[in-house]
Amino acid sequence: MALSAHERAESRAKFIEYRRTGDRKLRNELIEAHRSLASHLARRYAHRGEPFDDLLQVAYLGMLKAVERFDPERNLEFSTYATVTVEGELKRHFRDKTWSVRVPRRPQELHLRLANVINELSQRLSRAPRVPEVAAELGVSEEEVLEAMEVGGAYRSASLDTRPGENAEPTAIERRLGTEDQGFDIAEHRVLLETVLGDLSERERMIVELRFFHERTQTEIAEEVGISQMHVSRLLARTLMQLRERLETLEA
């Protein structure tokens, strides 16, 4: 926000006047003058699953608070103060509003250690470990292990969590489930499925085919492909999401 010396002095005078009088009209002018800073900051937080209009509202609210609290007597640029205040407001918004999709930090950290521990135990026991065994090895509760496993992959719902609003076009799958498309031919699905499988990389296709067409376990695939079971799990989750997206595009 490059302001000329003149603009800066003018802005400062307005802040001093506002501090003195508490004039709402003056306050609104000050907010209005810094609108573009608010929208600039809101844009930084876009594409994280929250509607941009909501973020803009939050940023304006932050700007309002900044204008109300700013003390022009302190040796600080308003833009600096406003940036901190507005960002604080945006961060709080994400913390409060998106609790259902946000992953708490501890399970996330635990998840990273989980893969190694499951691998080690699988080798030691010559079978996949049970949750209590993993928990004992990690020195955490069984619930924490389950939470950490949850971080690993939300196979289908994750890719659909960030759906557009209610009035948006129905997704391909909704149309398929609708009353008009009752007789969708399973053979057509197979053709589509083969088409999208062809788009995958060699390794992805091999893993998907082994898992879902030959019904091999993740551990067996891990051994065959030479990667860890958790890695197979992650690759499968990601590949399934890609497949689903491509299927829906093709069907749309």
Partner: protein, 127 residues
């Protein structure tokens, strides 16, 4: 098919939105872990829950999805039910069918009395 033993059913009612699939998965994993499923079997169950719950939620016309986790002597059965949207049928695409076939022993998705219903069965590990 064993009969339902008292004290072996966990019931859950969640809003029929995809954000709550996580809660269903987590509950299902907890129940399965209690029954002695290993991490891979739990992983499979999570995939199944995710697939079926997502299909049911997408087809649901009502606000809530009811889920029961029923443990019998021989199997873990997961049953879901949500008010439907008035359509006569629901479908499972080939990819989903292939996935479900690989991760559970049996599954079903259908419309019954105007409700979208699903169930899946995993045989309990013999240990």
């Amino acid at each position: 098919m064993g009969h339902e033993q008292p004290g072996n059913v966990v019931r859950l009612t969640v809003p029929a939105t995809l954000e709550f699939a996580r809660i269903i998965r987590l509950t299902g994993s907890g129940v399965a872990s209690r029954l002695g499923f290993d991490v891979e079997e739990i992983e499979n169950l999570r995939v199944a829950i995710d697939e079926l719950a997502s299909l049911a939620i997408e087809a649901a016309g009502g606000p809530e999805l009811e889920i029961s986790f029923v443990a019998t002597e021989s199997e873990l059965r997961i049953i879901g039910r949500a008010p439907g949207r008035g359509g006569a049928d629901v479908g499972i695409d080939a990819l989903t069918a292939q996935i479900l076939k690989a991760v559970v022993d049996d599954y079903e998705l259908r419309v019954e009395d105007g409700h979208v219903c699903f169930s899946c069965i995993t045989r309990r590990p013999l240990r």
